[in-house]
């Protein structure tokens, strides 16, 4: 199956004009981990960080893709906000939703500026064994394909009268037991794909102990500036206030 335009759209598109595309993926991993630590701060400091982060995204030309990415979670955020406000407090609801938005933004920041090849290289440099680094980058690369396969299964099943009818909530609930018509083909296709990839990679010497990487990673001045800036901001936020 070839990847469709819809499948490609569901993968995070690379924002090629972002200056972060030139940064080393390890730097972006560092920034991502740093932001993941920041989310544990109290709400006042967190909101200051959100403001700084928004400016950073603006500089990196990533504000729009990040907002689009967060927008996909609007219903989850709304539900979470309502429940937290109702069950705990408004402050807590704001805190939890801000944390989720920040973490979603981290995902967008990394994958909008990093190719799967760079991801694999970064993991290798971080001493992750090659087979795991390769598998992980391949998994991210295949997201659009999985999406296409799921759509193809739904269409194929609906064309034989075995699809889920989502036009009415009651009918949908009554058919949930029939999810097997979707899950069995999905498992079969995914297993076959995984097996085909395994065979293709072994037929090209994937298990060779003499592998030498063609592409290399190197830190530039931009990387040092980004890492230093991130470190200073984190230290200031934790100790200054």
């Amino acid at each position: 199956m070839r990847i469709s335009q819809a499948g490609r759209a569901r993968q995070l598109a690379l924002v090629e004009d972002s200056p972060l595309c030139k940064a080393d993926p390890r730097t972006k991993l560092f920034i991502s981990v740093a932001i993941s630590l920041v989310v544990m701060m109290p709400i006042e400091r967190l909101l200051i960080f959100v403001a700084i982060y928004a400016l950073f995204l603006l500089w990196a030309r990533l504000l729009t893709p990040t907002v689009q990415h967060v927008w996909r979670l609007k219903w989850l955020l709304l539900l979470l906000f309502a429940f937290d406000w109702w069950l705990i407090s408004l402050d807590h609801a704001v805190l939890i939703c801000t944390r989720l938005i920040l973490l979603t933004g981290v995902f967008a920041l990394f994958f909008s500026t990093t190719t799967t090849r760079q991801l694999g290289l970064a993991l290798e440099k971080l001493r992750v064994p090659y087979r795991y680094a390769f598998s992980l980058s391949l998994a991210f690369q295949s997201l659009g394909l999985l999406d296409d396969e799921w759509r193809a299964i739904r269409e194929a099943q609906s064309s034989r009268g075995a699809g889920l009818d989502t036009s009415s909530f009651r009918r949908f609930v009554s058919q949930v037991g029939d999810l097997i018509s979707l899950t069995v083909p999905a498992i079969v296709l995914t297993t076959k794909r995984a097996w085909a990839i395994t065979e293709a990679s072994y037929a090209r010497g994937f298990d060779s102990p003499h592998r030498r990487s063609y592409h290399t990673l190197a830190f530039s001045r931009l990387d040092f500036v980004l890492m230093a800036g991130t470190t200073v901001i984190i230290i200031l936020l934790y100790w200054r206030w």
């Binding site: 490609r8 659009g144 394909l145 299964i153 296709l189 085909a196 395994t198 090209r204």
Partner: protein
């Protein structure tokens, strides 16, 4: 050189596998291995490459050598330095995010230095005419381009032998002939090549071709058509007016007008990616489109009701037995029709077998059966029905389709298989941009050489000779 001596293999908990085979493929020689579906061709290919026993559990006997290396004694990476393998499904063997990286992947594993990788990469891109697409995602290429890339990625590693498992099955005739030209260059360099393929007619013109036929039961005799005749349907016409389809910003069809009458088998032929499947999807209602698709009967106009058989039967099968699969969600199934259908599809022996354990050809027939059990009002749409099928399966399929057409159904199929298309009543050629380049009685269109040129499909020599012989008769 590849050598197999009395090699046989049995998968765990299965009776079937590969019966003992001996084979020797000398340098500069092509070996074509044919055989019916399920006779063990793919298993033998994997034995020759060493994937069996390294990646598969089962009972292997006999011996296989790849350039003097016994496959059971050496690790896969050492065998892969000496032999390469290209698989049936081009998309499933793409491993990298760009065309360039796809080639680099195999070179990195050889432990070559940067300059050597660069030099081989540039040479390979040039030789396989891939330079202009070096930065593209392999998953966005056409089937023919993907298969060419898969072959390039293997040949860049400079193996001594090449094993190809049905590499032509998903390709249109032009892409298939391009691939064979690449293979001829490989063998001319004194390398060994073994190709497992149903579409053997494409290799008729190859010199130094050795043909090995694996033993297997022909299955065409399973077909039983007696016992029930289908009720004849009233005449109708499917009218497609001003069909417009856009996919991801690309125009597939622009103002397409087509009309098809009941009681016919219509074959739609075109290069990979011209919109053949989209046409079927539009007819079945799965594809959003502009314009209209209506069925016109003497009583008036109706929404079309077609059963669609997809290219990949695994998308539709999930039940515990063939019987359960065919009767799924049918409130009051007509058991007489069911018995006739199961017999007509040659599936009598597999009623209680889980469909997912059947061969690809048998799975395709189950998928066809479950669609027919729904009794679609107007007919059948089949996307590449002969993909990966041997001749026996194709005969079963065509007989059944003819029965349906005779009963007044409209049968529309997309195919790259010109032999199958030549059995249709009407042939439509689709060119770039979804333009109909020829449409008419099959015999007329087959002989319209300018139409095939406009469609950018090269008619293979074996097919043209067949046509000329028919004219002479």
């Amino acid at each position: 050189m590849l050598r197999a001596r009395q090699v046989s293999f049995r998968y765990p908990q299965e009776n079937q596998g590969l019966p003992p085979v001996s084979l020797e493929i000398a340098p500069g020689e092509w070996t074509l291995v044919t055989g019916s579906s399920g006779c063990g061709k793919s298993t033998l290919a994997r034995c020759l490459m060493g994937l069996i026993p390294h990646l598969y559990n089962g009972e292997l006997s006999g011996e296989v050598w790849v350039n003097g290396y016994r496959t059971s004694e050496f690790p896969m990476w050492q065998l892969a330095e000496r032999a390469g393998m290209v698989f049936q499904n081009p998309a499933a063997q793409m491993l990298a995010p760009t065309v360039e990286d796809e080639i680099i992947f195999g070179l990195e594993n050889l432990g070559l230095d940067h300059d050597e990788i660069r030099s081989r990469l540039e040479n390979t891109l040039q030789e396989f005419k891939l330079t202009h697409m070096r930065d593209r995602n392999p998953q966005t290429l056409s089937g023919g381009e993907q298969q060419r890339l898969a072959l390039a990625a293997i040949i860049a590693r400079q193996p001594e032998a090449l094993i190809l498992d049905e590499p032509l099955s998903m390709l249109d005739t032009t892409a298939a002939m391009d691939l064979i030209a690449c293979l001829e260059r490989f063998v001319a360099g004194g390398k060994s090549l073994v190709i497992f393929e149903h579409r053997k007619e494409y290799l008729d013109s190859v010199s130094r071709l050795r043909h090995v036929a694996l033993a297997g039961k022909p299955k065409a005799d399973d077909f039983q058509q007696d016992g029930m005749s289908l009720p004849t349907r009233a005449d109708f016409t499917v009218e497609m007016n001003g069909l417009n389809v856009q996919l991801g910003g690309r125009t597939i069809f622009k103002n397409l007008n087509l009309s098809m009458s009941s009681g016919q088998i219509v074959a739609v032929v075109g290069r990979n990616g011209v919109g053949k499947t989209t046409l079927l999807r539009s007819m079945s209602g799965l594809q959003k489109h502009g314009g209209s698709v209506r069925v016109v009967t003497p009583e008036g106009s109706q929404r079309p009701d077609f059963g669609m058989v997809f290219q990949n039967p695994d998308l539709q099968l999930f039940n515990a037995s063939v019987q359960d699969e065919l009767l799924y969600r049918l409130p009051n199934p007509d058991m007489a029709y069911y018995r006739w259908l199961i017999s007509a599809l040659g599936l009598n022996a597999y009623e209680n077998t889980p469909p997912l354990l059947l061969s690809e050809g048998e799975k395709k027939r189950v998928a066809l059966g479950l669609v027919l059990m729904r009794r679609p009002a107007h007919g059948l749409l089949l996307d590449e029905p002969s993909l990966g099928q041997d001749n026996a399966h194709k005969i079963i399929l065509m007989r059944l389709l003819r029965t349906l057409a005779d009963a007044g159904y409209l049968v529309v199929m997309t195919t790259h298989d010109l032999t199958l298309a030549s059995h249709a009543d009407r042939l439509i050629l689709l060119g770039q941009g979804g333009e109909v380049t020829a449409d008419g009685a099959t015999e007329t269109v087959l002989r319209d050489h300018s139409a095939w040129q406009r469609t950018n499909i090269a008619l293979p020599a074996w097919f043209q000779h067949g046509l000329e012989a028919e004219v002479a008769r």
